[in-house]
Symmetry: C2
Subunit: 388 residues, 2 copies
Amino acid sequence: MRETSIVGAYETPHGAHKERSLRDLITEAGNGAIRDAGIDRKEIQAVYVGNYAGNEFNGQNTLGSLAATVLGLGDRPAIRLEGACASGGLAVRQAMLAVATGQYETVLALGVEKMNGLDPEKTMNIVARGQDQDFEGGYCISGPSGFALNAVRHMHEFGTTREQMAMVAEKNFYHGSLNPYAHKQRALPLERIMKAPQVSYPFGIHDVSLVTDAAAAVIITTRDKARALRPDSVRILGSGQGGDYFTIALKHSSTSFAASVRAAEEAFRMAGVDRADIDVLECHDCFTITEIINIEDLGFVEKGKGGPFTADGHTRLGGKLPVNTSGGLKAKGHPIGATGVGQVVEMTFQLRDQADKRQVKNATRAMTHVLGGPGAVSVVHILGREGA
Amino acid sequence: MRETSIVGAYETPHGAHKERSLRDLITEAGNGAIRDAGIDRKEIQAVYVGNYAGNEFNGQNTLGSLAATVLGLGDRPAIRLEGACASGGLAVRQAMLAVATGQYETVLALGVEKMNGLDPEKTMNIVARGQDQDFEGGYCISGPSGFALNAVRHMHEFGTTREQMAMVAEKNFYHGSLNPYAHKQRALPLERIMKAPQVSYPFGIHDVSLVTDAAAAVIITTRDKARALRPDSVRILGSGQGGDYFTIALKHSSTSFAASVRAAEEAFRMAGVDRADIDVLECHDCFTITEIINIEDLGFVEKGKGGPFTADGHTRLGGKLPVNTSGGLKAKGHPIGATGVGQVVEMTFQLRDQADKRQVKNATRAMTHVLGGPGAVSVVHILGREGA
């Protein structure tokens, strides 16, 4: 496989953009990434779009073709990829694979979701269709109640506390307060997170990710071309995709997401680097417990130690392994199809020293991780600073 | 790229299966293909699923993960691909590319759609979301009215007649009458097709594809492994994907689908064969005019000659180039996400001499073609008999 790099990255401000259309978000992100890359859009040979449910949220399906058209690339092959909350990660991965295997030279990966504007109950029903509706939807298994099962089991097995989970939220809101692209840019005191109204025990409202509108895009090309284009291109060192059972009742563990473990193994094998080489991680904190489980599953801490590792401040800016410097799904927000692409945008900013107040000093290698459905799809990427 | 082949193929009966669940259709097709291949399902390393709108039709999104789980492959990476009516073709193509580029050795491509069961107006609205809703949906552009624009322009420029279009339907209903998997298995006299109630001028109700429930699946592996498994494995000689503008008003032609032209060029280049080498074609006859335009765009007849070529009987079983021996979208039916996979199943049957009453004698090379949205996405495959 050829080596690949990111030469353009852009994301729209995240928020509840009721006044902006899907088209508008796509236009800003796609054109932003093209401008950032400094290439002629004609060099883009294919378009990969992550989107979860444009048909239900916005009455518009087939967003691969829409995005290509909106960006003046309508004559290029376009594909939409969907894997619940991992959709954006799939778009980046399929785009990277197309360049790595020589199918195309330069491609665009874009993620988009516009979730606000509907009745909140309707919105939640649409989101819940990313879980097994035949067998578990009828028993009120949705995102919050499903991940709550993981949380209570993690508490039972490892002594993880409600406070440690709240600390994930406190840290991510703090990071979000430093990110001008974040949906929520205000730090929240731990006590307020602890005392927030309950959603599904043990989750309060601040343990849960946001309902966000945004688009994000990256331009991926060969490492050779990237180096010729800009000195600060960002390498894609590794990529992995893992799967696990869609039906929660079929899973082997409630305290680990096997899909993440598998995706990370593949990505690390491809990258040929160790856990210790990763300087900053953007991972899927759809719920606070998820971030704790993620840092365990990805191999950064021993199983069961995610809570204490968080409580010790290691995942905060300035810590051993800053996690979700963007604010994560909690504060930057969770525009489903855009999330996985936006993570790569944030890490690109870090590896180009463009993360401003949230910059991790001397970051040379970064990781992104998304998790879709009830832990059914995971995509991991390992990125590296060029020449480092 | 490595050479690839199909070692397993299966499709469910097509029809209005109100009593069958999405899960049930997926189970039959996936297990059918695995059984047909004679492999252990553990050999399947990844799952690619074409589906257009399970979330709206069936309240279930993320069908990649659902299909993998239902088939006992939940721990494998799974992806859902969507490109409107070309979704199934995308699943086959991405699966093939994964094997060809060495990412995986053996994979499953599955397509599924369960469209019946809702109020028909709701069903039509869901289908229309595969067109540009911001700019054209509001002007009543849907499948029928959009393709009707192509029909009237083709009539105007080339003298194509209403009767020639009806002949496409008559032929495909005849072919469908020979196919036990078809939704409609009854031949219809030309006169009845001509006099059928109008849908959108010049289309009558029999010029339009069916609203169908079905699933189809194929197992793709390396040619080397395929030859070791069975003597009648079917080679994938070529594959191509083309794009074109999603907004009808932006297109350069009303009598040609540029996406099809591009997909065919890529597939023929890869396969290294000529038009004359193709013995049987399964193409996207979503409307009767589409089949006429397709055989022109794919290069089998000169632009404008598709009508007379059809009227002369060349596309009928026994003709120069039998087209849609399955009955096509018209008679076999159009379960959106399954259509592109089902075409490959039908052509696999032809190249294995298993097409019974609709068998094309000595067929050694076959082509499949899907077209999604308003001619925005096309996927073409060229298949060949092993050893021929």
